[in-house]
C-alpha cells in the first residue's frame, strides 16, 4: 500500500515538471516531436533511477557516517555526470538513431535539474506517506525515483502530443515558440492540480 501511495503521489499529485518545476529545460526544448520526447523520457528515466540508488548508498554509507554531508552537492553531481557518460556510450553503440535524435540533450541530462533534484530530495526530505513521517529506505527511494521519472515521461509525452497539434495552428506572432508552450503548460498544470488531495 505504501509503495502504491508513493507511486501515485510521484506521478500525478506532485508531478515533477508541472508542480515541482524540475527539468523544465528539456521539457520545453525537446517536446516538439513525440518520438524525441519519448526517447528523452526513457533516457531520463534510466538515469534518474540509477543515479538515485547510487547517490542514496553513497550518502548512507560514506558521507553520513563520516560527517561529510556538506560534500553532498559536489559528490552527487559527479556521480550523475559519470552515469550520463556511461548511458551516452551505451546508446551510441546500441541505438545510433536514438543517439542522433537526442543530440545535444543527452549530455545535458547532467545539467537536468530533475536528476540532481530527486537525488537530493530522497536523502533530505521527510515523507509523510503513512505515519509517522520518516526518511525513505533504499527500496522506497528507488520506487520514488522511478515513479517520479515516469511522471516526467507522462508530462513530457502529453505535452509533446499537444505541441505537435499546436504546430499546425495559426498562433499569433509574439506567442510563437516558447510563450505559447508556457501557456499550454500552465493549462496542463491546472489539470494536474485536480489530482491534489488524492493522496
Amino acid at each position: 500500500m505504501e509503495y502504491f501511495l508513493i507511486i501515485i503521489s510521484a506521478i500525478f499529485v506532485n508531478n515533477i515538471v508541472l508542480s515541482q518545476f524540475l527539468g523544465i529545460c528539456p521539457f520545453l526544448g525537446v517536446s516538439n516531436k513525440l518520438s524525441t520526447a519519448t526517447g528523452m523520457s526513457a533516457a531520463v528515466c534510466f538515469v534518474i533511477t540509477l543515479s538515485t540508488i547510487v547517490t542514496y548508498l553513497l550518502n548512507k554509507y560514506l558521507l553520513d557516517p563520516y560527517g561529510l554531508t556538506f560534500l553532498q552537492t559536489i559528490a552527487f553531481i559527479l556521480v550523475i555526470a559519470a552515469l550520463v557518460q556511461t548511458v551516452e556510450i551505451v546508446l551510441k553503440k546500441t541505438s545510433p538513431s536514438l543517439y542522433q535524435a537526442l543530440g545535444i540533450y543527452l549530455p545535458l541530462i547532467t545539467t537536468n535539474c530533475a536528476v540532481l533534484g530527486v537525488a537530493i530530495t530522497v536523502v533530505t526530505k521527510q515523507f509523510t506517506f503513512g505515519d509517522p513521517a520518516h526518511m525513505l529506505n533504499l527500496g522506497e527511494a528507488a520506487v520514488y525515483a522511478f515513479a517520479t521519472a515516469v511522471g516526467y515521461g507522462v508530462a513530457m509525452i502529453i505535452f509533446s502530443g499537444i505541441r505537435e497539434h499546436l504546430a499546425l495552428n495559426d498562433v499569433p506572432k509574439p506567442f510563437r515558440g516558447i510563450p505559447i508552450a508556457l501557456v499550454t503548460a500552465s493549462i496542463l498544470a491546472m489539470a494536474f492540480m485536480g489530482f491534489s488531495g488524492l493522496v
Binding site: F21, I74, I77, G117, I120, T121, L182, S186
Partner: protein, 197 residues
C-alpha cells in the same frame, strides 16, 4: 567584436536577458518566484555563484585539458554553490529554508555552465566577472519582475506590503500561474523588443 565592460554589464538587462531572450534557467525562474522577495533572493544567489565561477573558470581554463573541461567546470561551480549554502545557512537561514532545494540546484542551472562555456573560458578574469555580473543582474531583474507580478495577482501585495483586503487569485502563486505569467511576460517582451528594432 569587443564590448566595453559597461556593455558587458548592461547587456543582460535587455539584449541578452537570460530569462526572456536566452530562455535559460527556467526551473528556478518558475519555482522560486512565488513572491518578489523570493525571486530577488534566488536571483542574487545565482549572481553570487555566477560571478565567482566565471572568474575562477576564466583563470584556470588555459590549464584544463579539453576532454575533461565540463566535469572540471562543474566541480568549480559546485564548490561555490557549497560556499553559498554555508553562507546562507549562517546569515539568512529563513530564506535558505524557503528556497530549499533550489540552492543546491544552482549547480545545474544552465545559465552558469552556459556562461562558462560561451564566455568565461576565452576571456580575461575581469571581463568574465563583468559578464557574470551582467547576466546575473539580468536574471535577478527578471525573477524579481516575475515574482512581483505573481505576488500582486496572487496575494494582492508587493514585497510583502498588502494593498487589498481579502485574498488574491491563489492560482497565480501556485504552479499554473508560474507558467502563465512567464508566458505572457515573454509575449510582452517580444512585442516591446520588436518595436524597438
Amino acid at each position: 567584436m569587443t564590448m566595453t565592460k559597461l556593455q558587458l554589464i548592461t547587456k543582460g538587462f535587455i539584449k541578452d536577458n537570460p530569462t526572456f531572450v536566452l530562455v535559460l534557467g527556467m526551473c528556478p525562474t518558475l519555482a522560486t518566484t512565488t513572491s518578489a522577495i523570493n525571486g530577488m533572493s534566488m536571483g542574487l544567489a545565482t549572481l553570487f555563484v555566477l560571478v565567482l565561477s566565471n572568474m575562477a573558470i576564466s583563470a584556470v581554463a588555459p590549464y584544463v585539458p579539453d576532454k575533461v573541461h565540463i566535469p572540471a567546470y562543474i566541480v568549480i561551480i559546485a564548490t561555490f554553490v557549497t560556499v553559498l549554502q554555508f553562507l546562507m545557512q549562517a546569515y539568512t537561514p529563513a530564506m535558505y529554508e524557503t528556497l530549499g532545494l533550489f540552492i543546491p540546484l544552482i549547480v545545474v542551472n544552465c545559465i552558469v555552465l552556459g556562461r562558462a562555456e560561451a564566455f568565461a573560458n576565452k576571456h580575461t578574469v575581469i571581463e568574465s566577472a563583468c559578464d557574470g555580473l551582467g547576466i546575473g543582474l539580468g536574471f535577478t531583474l527578471s525573477l524579481t519582475l516575475l515574482g512581483m507580478v505573481r505576488e500582486i495577482l496572487g496575494t494582492g501585495s508587493v514585497f510583502g506590503w498588502k494593498f487589498i483586503t481579502g485574498d488574491g487569485i491563489l492560482a497565480f502563486v501556485m504552479a499554473p500561474g508560474a507558467f502563465l505569467c512567464l508566458g505572457y511576460l515573454m509575449v510582452l517582451f517580444n512585442k516591446l523588443a520588436k518595436k524597438n528594432k
